[in-house]
Structure formats: structure tokens, C-alpha cells
């Protein structure tokens, strides 16, 4: 008998489905299947994975936001909960928004204390159905996940043919698995149709808003950027959440950098003994003319610091991807934060400042990965690309990346053998062009090109020195070079001009900021937005800060690191920079920004 239909506002193509699972049970592929099916039906989606730092047995959640307006942040509410983990059932049930729907496994009795009358509760005996339909413990566990995808398909009106198509692609080499998975889908689907009013008012309707787009995570996109930029040496030490970047690079190289006949590889991947060695390998390789990179996260940055100072002072290019996670110390390795801004900006002892890029999305992970190598070689210095776990590991809808076949790497001021022969004498650290960037040579070319690279005091001739004036001359030139860098890093993205109030933010905050901006503007507030894309900050950033009376700095860390950086590195008045901080480890949603700004403006106090 169909359950009583609860009244709820129709939420077509605008709702969030959350899956509560046990990690290691195979739920990830079921959840991805649902997300991909919605995407293929032309409806924009966002996927967020909240997973434990564990292999098997702990609670894990996956959230799919269906958003016809193609917002990119979390919604901050849950409309449909697929509660498959008895351990977290109570809190999962509580999280459903009034009028929402809770789907659970009714094989076992559920405490009446957990019932809610303001949501619709759909019980399906998944375990019992699986036991009837499938043999073997492993298959029964896995198929239980696929089966709830089938039930959900009936509830939110997913096209079974789209699901069948996805399964056929996934198991192209194992057709038997297509059949068994499809059987589980159909059992779940049929059961829902027989027992509930299907579909819900919260449901999917076909759109055409995902054409020309892909669903991709930032780590994979960055790896693709490394491949296209011509990186040949990757060195790393495994660390969450950056590991999948090197995994993806290795995968792309196995396919696109390996000669199918001979097996010859045009790349090297070094799994180093620690992050100190990983950055050492990168520095050695780039010093010797190969494009090299290392992906890491906060603890790795801490370990790399001494080497980063060497690369800064000896002027060796290096590319470092910092996929930020929650600190301090080991922190929460599978949660997201933007907490390494200051650590990267000033990494290493002594006077050091570094170039940083801030991608906000997978497409910028791709383009900025390519740019990072050009900047590192052009400026002969380490370049940090700061991702975070949210961008790096979650699936984002992104426009298909483009590539210009005429593009060639900018190797910077690297002397050719012909130029070397024309020189009377090569001197490594001179500044003939006045931009602070010296000329370099590669080993192996000519005895005339040789020089000595050192992190100890050196003169502009490249010679060891303890002479004050000679030391200072080189250090001052590095300041000139940093000013040049401010002109070369990507310009900020600006939305709106002329308002008195503004938001400045960066990276993965962008999705939440844009949604907040729309809400604030709808409510009548004139507000501008500048998204930083690179460090050092250039003239455009200075001007934006100067022309706004109140600037809300939105970032994901406790200590307002971006605000500190703006205070140190620009002329902006500290008092007008106000912080909106989010640092609980989960991706941001727009409401904390809207609330923070409204509160601050109404009360006239800093948030």
C-alpha cells in the first residue's frame, strides 16, 4: 500500500540528495552513478564527498546538489537523505529539511523515537531484497548500494536508460556486471513504484544545461595541465588529498607518453622517501632543464621549506601543488581548508616570498598548472598552485578544457648554445634587462656556460661571497624580480564596479561567494567582488581595495590568513578589511557569507 503523501513544495532540479554510507562498502560507485545520470540528463550537479581518514568501516557521506542555476557550492540543506548507515541514522534523519524525504533500509525494525512527521519516510527492505536476489556476502553488500540507486531513480525520476548506458560504459569489458547491476537497479526501482507515489515533487526534469561540460575533479585537471605543459618529472610522497594528482598524471602518461611499440617512456615518476626528497628531485630536475613538479599538502609544505628557500635564493624553478587540508599538524586529512596561504607565501627561513596561483575550479586547475610551469621558468623561482581538498578531490561540473596547438612552453631566459658561444663570459646573476630576472644555462652545453649554484651568499657573478654590498645587491634584485612577478601572475577576476562594499576571496570559496553575491544583490545591497588569482598582488588589487570602503575578506581558515596577506602586501587600510571565516573542514555554502555580511552591516561591527 502506498505511503501517505506528505505535502512539500515542488523542488524540480533544485535540491540536495545526501547519502550516508559506511566507507569501504562500495557506495562510491553507486553515488557517482546517480550523479552522472543527473548530469547526463542535462541538469547541472555538484558532488561533495565527506569521507573519513580510514579504509573501511567508518561513516562516510556523499552529497549531490542538483542545481538548475548551476551553482557550484553546497546548498546548506538536505532534501533527500539516503540513510544506509544505522550508526549515523539518528543524526542523518535529523538533517533532512522539513518536507524532505528519508530513504532507509527497512529490513530491520527502526525505533519509533526516530520518526519525524514533517518529512516523508520511505523504508525499503534493501538487505532482504538483496539476499533474495544475489548470492555471496560481497555481492549482496555491493548490490545493496546499487539497489538504492534504483529506488532513488524512481523517487526523483531518473531515466533508467541513462543509467543502463552509464553501466555499459563502466563495465564495457565485463558485460556480466552490467546485467547484475542493472538487475539490482530494477529491483529497487520496481519496489519503489509498487510501494510509493513516484516520483516525488522533489525530482529531476530533463534540461540541456550540461552540453559542452564535464564532471571532473581538480587534481585530475591539474595532472592534465602538467601533461600538456610538458612536465616530464614528477616527484612526490603520498599524502591525502594530493595523491590522486600524481595517480592521474601517471595514468595519463602511461597512455599518452609511452611509445606503444617500444614501451619507451617520456616521463619519470619518483615516489620519494619523504617530501624533502620530493622537492629536492623537482629542484634538481628543473635546474637541469626538465619541467618537474610535486603535489603535496600542508605537512609536506612544512617539510619542504628549507629546499624552497634554496630554490628562491639560488633561483631554481619549481612547481608545487599544495592541495590544502585541515591543519594544524596532521589535522583532519580528509577535510578541506585554505590554511597554507601564509606558509606558502613566505615558506622557508630568511627573507623569502613566493609566487602563488589560486585556481577556483577544475578548469583553472588545468590552465594554472600550465601557467605555473611558464611562470616558474620565466621567473626562475618556485611557484605554488594552491588547491584545496574541495577543488582537488570533489567532482565539479566544468566547461570542457580547450587547448591551442600553437602553444609552446615559455622556458624563460635560458641561453641557447649559440648565445653562449657569442658571450665573452657567462655570469649567472646579472640583471641586464632591468626586470630582476637573470639568465641561466643548462648543464652539459658548453664549458663556457658553467656556473655554481649555491644557497650560501653569492654575488651577481655567481661567486661565493660574504661581502655585505655584494650580498645585498643580489637580495635587492630579487625584490625587483618579485615586482615583475606581480605583473606576470594572472589578473584578478572582478565582478561589479562602483559599490562601496565588496568581497575579496579566492579559490574554492568562489562558488559560495557568487551565490551569496546574487542573494545579497537581490536583497538590494550594492556589492562588488574581486577574486584573487595570483600572488604577488598587482596594481588591480591595490586599486580595488583603495576604491571600496568596506571589504569583506572571505576565506577558509581561522586566522584570516588572506586578510593578513592583504594587510602585509598592499597599502589597504587594515580597518576596512573585515573577515568572513569558515574553517570547520566542510566546503562552504553561501549562507554563512550572506549571514556574516548582513550581520556586520546591520550592526556596523566587524564580523
Amino acid at each position: 500500500m502506498p505511503e501517505r503523501h506528505k505535502t512539500a513544495a515542488a523542488r524540480v532540479n533544485d535540491f540536495t540528495v545526501k547519502f550516508a554510507n559506511v566507507n569501504g562498502s562500495g557506495s562510491a560507485s553507486a553515488n557517482a552513478l546517480v550523479m552522472k545520470a543527473i548530469f547526463r540528463m542535462g541538469v547541472p550537479v555538484v558532488g561533495k564527498n565527506f569521507f573519513p581518514s580510514n579504509i573501511q568501516g567508518l561513516p562516510t557521506w556523499y552529497e549531490i546538489r542538483v542545481t538548475r542555476e548551476a551553482w557550484r557550492a553546497r546548498a546548506g540543506r538536505v532534501d533527500v537523505m539516503v540513510a544506509m548507515n544505522a550508526e549515523t541514522y539518528a543524526r542523518d534523519a535529523k538533517e533532512v529539511a522539513p518536507g524532505g524525504c528519508l530513504l532507509y533500509d527497512s529490513t530491520w525494525p527502526r525505533s519509533s523515537l526516530l520518526a519525524r512527521d514533517d518529512i516523508r519516510t520511505c523504508g525499503v527492505p534493501f538487505a532482504q531484497l538483496c539476499n533474495e536476489q544475489f548470492e555471496g556476502a560481497r555481492a549482496r553488500t555491493l548490490m545493496k548500494n546499487i539497489m538504492y540507486a534504483g529506488t532513488l531513480a524512481a523517487l526523483i525520476d531518473l531515466d533508467l536508460e541513462v543509467i543502463r548506458g552509464l553501466l555499459a560504459e563502466t563495465y564495457a569489458k565485463k558485460p556480466a556486471l552490467v546485467d547484475s547491476n542493472m538487475k539490482a537497479i530494477e529491483v529497487g526501482y520496481r519496489w519503489a513504484r509498487e510501494h510509493f507515489d513516484c516520483p516525488l515533487t522533489t525530482r529531476i526534469e530533463r534540461m540541456d544545461a550540461t552540453r559542452g561540460h564535464v564532471m571532473i575533479d581538480g587534481n585530475t585537471a591539474a595532472a592534465l595541465g602538467c601533461l600538456y605543459a610538458g612536465a616530464t618529472v614528477g616527484a612526490w610522497y603520498p599524502i591525502t588529498p594530493s595523491t590522486s594528482l600524481m595517480d592521474a598524471f601517471r595514468g595519463f602518461c602511461a597512455k599518452h607518453r609511452t611509445d606503444p611499440q617500444t614501451g619507451r617512456r617520456d616521463y619519470v615518476v619518483v615516489q620519494a622517501e619523504d617530501e624533502l626528497a620530493a622537492i629536492g628531485v623537482v629542484i634538481g630536475a628543473m635546474w637541469n632543464g626538465a619541467r618537474a613538479f610535486t603535489p603535496t599538502s600542508g605537512p609536506g609544505i612544512s617539510l619542504m621549506e628549507e629546499f624552497i628557500g634554496l630554490a628562491y635564493y639560488a633561483e631554481v624553478p619549481a612547481v608545487i601543488f599544495d592541495v590544502q587540508r585541515v591543519g594544524p599538524s596532521t589535522g583532519m586529512p580528509t577535510r578541506t581548508q585554505q590554511c597554507d596561504l601564509l606558509a606558502c607565501a613566505y615558506a622557508s627561513h630568511g627573507d623569502t616570498r613566493h609566487v602563488m596561483l589560486f585556481p577556483d575550479s577544475p578548469e583553472e586547475c588545468f590552465t594554472m598548472a600550465v601557467q605555473a610551469f611558464d611562470l616558474a621558468e620565466r621567473l626562475q623561482t618556485p611557484v605554488f598552485v594552491l588547491l584545496d581538498l574541495d577543488i582537488g578531490m570533489n567532482d565539479w561540473m566544468a566547461p570542457e578544457f580547450r587547448w591551442d596547438d600553437a602553444w609552446r612552453p615559455d622556458r624563460g631566459k635560458m641561453l641557447t648554445p649559440e648565445q653562449i658561444e657569442g658571450l665573452a663570459k657567462f655570469q649567472r646573476y646579472q640583471d641586464p634587462d632591468g626586470d630582476g630576472i637573470p639568465y641561466r644555462t643548462l648543464p652539459g652545453i658548453s664549458p663556457k656556460a658553467s656556473y655554481f649554484t649555491r644557497g650560501s651568499g653569492h654575488s651577481k657573478f655567481g661567486a661565493y661571497t660574504e661581502d655585505s654590498a655584494e650580498y645585498q645587491e643580489v637580495l635587492d634584485r630579487l625584490t625587483r624580480k618579485f615586482r615583475t612577478a606581480a605583473r606576470l601572475v594572472p589578473a584578478p577576476a572582478v565582478d561589479g564596479r562602483g559599490a562601496a562594499v565588496a568581497i575579496v576571496s579566492l579559490g574554492s570559496c568562489d562558488g559560495a561567494v557568487r551565490e551569496a553575491l546574487a542573494a545579497l544583490r537581490r536583497s538590494g545591497l550594492a556589492i562588488d567582488y574581486l577574486r584573487l588569482r595570483g600572488f604577488p598582488f598587482g596594481a588591480e588589487v591595490e586599486e580595488f581595495l583603495a576604491t571600496h570602503q568596506t571589504v569583506f575578506v572571505v576565506e577558509q581558515n581561522r586566522d584570516a590568513q588572506l586578510r593578513s596577506l592583504l594587510t602585509i602586501e598592499t597599502a589597504a587600510d587594515k580597518a576596512k578589511l573585515r573577515s568572513i571565516l569558515h574553517y570547520n573542514g566542510l566546503p562552504m555554502s553561501a549562507d554563512c557569507i550572506v549571514e556574516g555580511i548582513n550581520r556586520a552591516l546591520d550592526r556596523g561591527v566587524a564580523a
Partner: protein
Amino acid sequence: MSFIAKPKVANPGLPKNELGLNRRDYEGGMSTLCAGCGHDSVTAAIVQACFELALPPQSVVKLSGIGCSSKTTAYFVSGGHGFNSVHGRMPSVATGANAANRHLRYIGVSGDGDSLSIGVGQLAHAIRRNVDMVYILENNGVYGLTKGQFSASADLGSKSKKGVANEDQPIDPVLLSLALGATFVARSFSGDKEQLVPLIKAGLAHKGFAMIDVLSPCVTFNDHEGSTKSYAYVREHSETPVAADYIAPKQEIRVQYAPGETISVPMHDGSSVVLRKLNPDYDPTNRARAAAYVQERALRNEYVTGLIYVDRRRGDFHDRQGTAAEALNAVPFERLCPGAGKLGKILQSFR
């Protein structure tokens, strides 16, 4: 300027090698080490080895960490690039440099502090990877630049200049290298150029990681009575079971060896190293026996010197990676970038 350029006045009568260069063409800047430092003799041996091998100076890449020993990369082959990196981390820089261009000759110079204390981890892993380089460990058992602290290679009971005995177990780089699977392990003495020069040449010809531990006394802090790394002590306590002679690819063997007393080891570049057995029971191709021999002699307070172990069969880092034959830094971009057409296909799998 506090850097002292070495005046280049070469005697026109100096012998020339196949490239028309004389020994002085392989020198570097003026040493700022103490007069009589063992390290300067090692530098001279490297210069001699590179000259005799007629290496194009630009093909030599010199790498080091931090410390007295690490300064020496500035004192030889000024025509090659040098990299004085951070303390104990030269092996990773060498690994990266070698990854970028497998065709140059990488000479790493380090010390016992740089290699066995702060850098023991990186050394171990460069050995495991069998990075193609010569690793010269200038071993004096003491920290010089910070004025006389014991290093990790200081022997039990060896006395500091102030008369204090070391009570911590020493790390023997030879035993360490053998345990980690190094494919070329040698030990020598800075005062024995006759032995050291052919070992460096053999190490350069070896494809893989060549560890050469060179006992190189510190005249200022560790050359006194009671030290086991002094000139006098090392001279009196060395034992060489196998001597190595380097034979260039086309060089005829002039020395007559008695049958059964020699092993000829062909190297990858066509040269060979002839091992002369000074102790008939010693087998330098048996790793376990070599390690046992070194340990037994150590118990008798003897340093085993010469070419202690060699393994030609194991491929180097690039062999195992399957890297292209050309240097990675010279592979044309067109071969590295899959292009716009392929990008579309790659992205299809993310639809």
C-alpha cells in the same frame, strides 16, 4: 670579492688527453680548506680521474650538500655546472638532475655528517634507486665547520681533540651501502692517490650508484693521537684485499697479471676494471661475503680498502623506469603534448 679565482698558468709541457686538455683544465676554484686537509687530495684525485678519462668538462655535473666536504665541488672541473644544495639532501637533487638528463656524469661529494647524520635517509634511498652517479663520501669522523663535534662515523672509543671518547656506535658507509644493495662499493684513503684515482675512474664508468668512502683526515680537529681517522692511524690500519685497475675502452692491458689472481669486469661504456686479488680468498662479487669480511676486519681495527663490491647486472634508475634513451630535457615538446584533438577524447571519459 671574497671568492678567490685560481690563476690559470699552465706549463706548456703538461701532458694532454684525447680532447687536447691538460690536467689543469679540470681544476676549479682555489680551495679554502685548511692546509693539509684530506679533502684537497680527494679533489686532486677527481681532477686526475676526469683528466685521464678525457671527460668533456661540461659533461661533469658536481653536486654536494653542506659542510667542508661539500665545498670541494667548487674546487674541480670549473667547466661543469655545480650545485651546492642543502645539508644532507644532495642525493635527491642528484636524482632529479639525473632524471632530467641521463647522459651527464654526476659526481656527488659529501661528508660523514652530510651523509650519515642529517642525510642518511636520502643517501639510503638514492642507493636503493641505483641512481647513476659517483658518490664520494669524504669521511673524517668529525664536524669541521662547527669545530670538532663527533660525527656518526666516529669509531667507538675514538678520542676527540679534547680527549673525550666517542661512545656511540659508528655508521660504516661501506656496510650501510652493502646492506642497501649498492651496486658499487669502494673505500680508499685520501693519502693513497694510486688507489683512489682508478677507483674514481671505475666509479664513473659504472652504470649505477658508486659509493666511494674516502677516509680523509681532518688536520685541524681529528688528526691527533687516539683518533681512528688520523693520517697515521688510517695508514697503519688499512687492508686491501682487492686492487682495482681501470682499463679504458681501447687501452691495451700492459700489466701482466698472474692467472687466477684477477677478475676483469667489463663496464657499460666499453671500459673494464681489472680487479687484482691481493687476498686470494676474497670475492668482490659476493655481497654477503664482502660484508662479512669488512666486519671481521673492523673487529681487528682494520679498514678494508679497495673495490669491495661490484654488481653489474642490476639496472640503474632509468632502466627500471623504462625512460627514453635521450635526455628527458631534450625530448621535443611535440612528443610530450598530446594536443587539442586528444584532449577532446580524454575529456569524453569525464562526460
